[in-house]
């Protein structure tokens, strides 16, 4: 009974994730492919919940579904009609790439199944006990994650925040509408320059 419940939950999550992914690569309409990302991200969030990573599940919903998915839908609508649905959506490489992907799946799958894991990998387990990461704090608590993030992993955390700032500035600069072709050389420099220099740089 216990086993059937777990298998059902796993089956539903796996079906949502993999079914959505198959539709993402097979749907002709690009906007439909973008919407098919939703079951994939939601399925992964479900896997995180199943694996007791509640905070990551919340982050998955917030960032992937709330931000990245919306961003992709925006990009699709802003580049609408760029490729119409009646022309081929894939380049000529589909069959070779499919074969290569099958080889990849076979290689990785046999590796996982044959690897000597600390606990055998293809047996049913009772719930693996979650132990305390920091004394007195459960490993699934957000506070444990916060403590680790701001002590042991402070440097990666800071680098990631600087990276986000750089990405934000970079995205704004890249997506901004340029007024002149010379704007790539820096709008401010061109505007400060005398008129003849400006004309030269427009050539």
């Amino acid at each position: 009974m216990h086993t059937i419940l777990h298998a059902t939950v796993f089956g539903v999550l796996a079906l949502a994730t993999l079914g959505g992914a198959v539709k993402v690569i097979s749907t002709r309409s690009i906007i439909h492919a973008a919407f098919w990302l939703f079951p994939v991200f939601a399925g992964i969030a479900g896997f995180y919940l199943y694996l007791d990573a509640q905070f990551l599940a919340a982050m998955q919903v917030l960032i992937y579904i709330g931000a990245i998915l919306v961003l992709i839908v925006f990009a699709v609508t802003l580049t609408r009609n760029a490729t119409s649905t009646d022309e081929a959506q894939t380049n000529g490489l589909f069959i070779p790439v499919l074969l290569a992907a099958l080889v990849l799946v076979y290689a990785l799958g046999t590796t996982v199944f044959n690897h000597l894991w600390p606990i055998e990998s293809n047996v049913w387990l009772d719930a693996v006990p979650l132990s305390a990461a920091v004394p007195g704090v459960m490993v699934t608590d957000v506070s444990a994650l916060g403590l680790v993030l701001l002590s042991q992993y402070l440097l990666p955390f800071e680098i990631a925040s600087v990276l986000l700032l750089a990405a934000m500035v970079g995205a704004i600069v890249l997506a901004r509408k340029e007024r002149t072709p010379a704007a790539t050389a820096g709008v401010a420099a061109v505007e400060a320059a005398p008129a003849d220099v400006r004309e030269l740089s427009n050539v």
Partner: protein
């Protein structure tokens, strides 16, 4: 809990599907969706390995958080570049865009 290998199998299949999308799709936005699928597969791997084999370490969760952060940055910059490409070339077909400079 379901066997560890089942979850890893889902992750492997998701990674392969993402790779197929990345390589074969002609639309640049769809190729970017493939990257997102592959990043999600890697994250699922991290979390599964943490839960089954290292439940007293938080390294995997920190790694997943950093990967999600970087994925957000990658999506923002990537889509900005695609918008720029569309403005310059009038297409987002990766087979037709061959120039690095406008």
């Amino acid at each position: 809990m379901v066997p560890f290998a089942w979850i890893i199998l889902v992750s492997i299949l998701l990674f392969a599907l993402g790779a197929i999308a990345l390589i074969t799709r002609r639309n640049a936005v769809a190729a970017l969706m493939g990257v997102e699928l592959m990043l999600n597969a890697a994250n699922l791997n991290f979390v599964a390995a943490w839960r089954y084999y290292y439940p007293d370490h938080l390294d995997a969760q920190v790694a997943v958080l950093l990967v999600i952060t970087i994925a957000a940055a990658e999506a923002a910059v990537g889509l900005a570049i695609i918008l720029n490409l569309y403005r310059r070339f009038g297409t987002v077909d990766l087979d037709q865009i061959r120039l690095m400079r406008g």
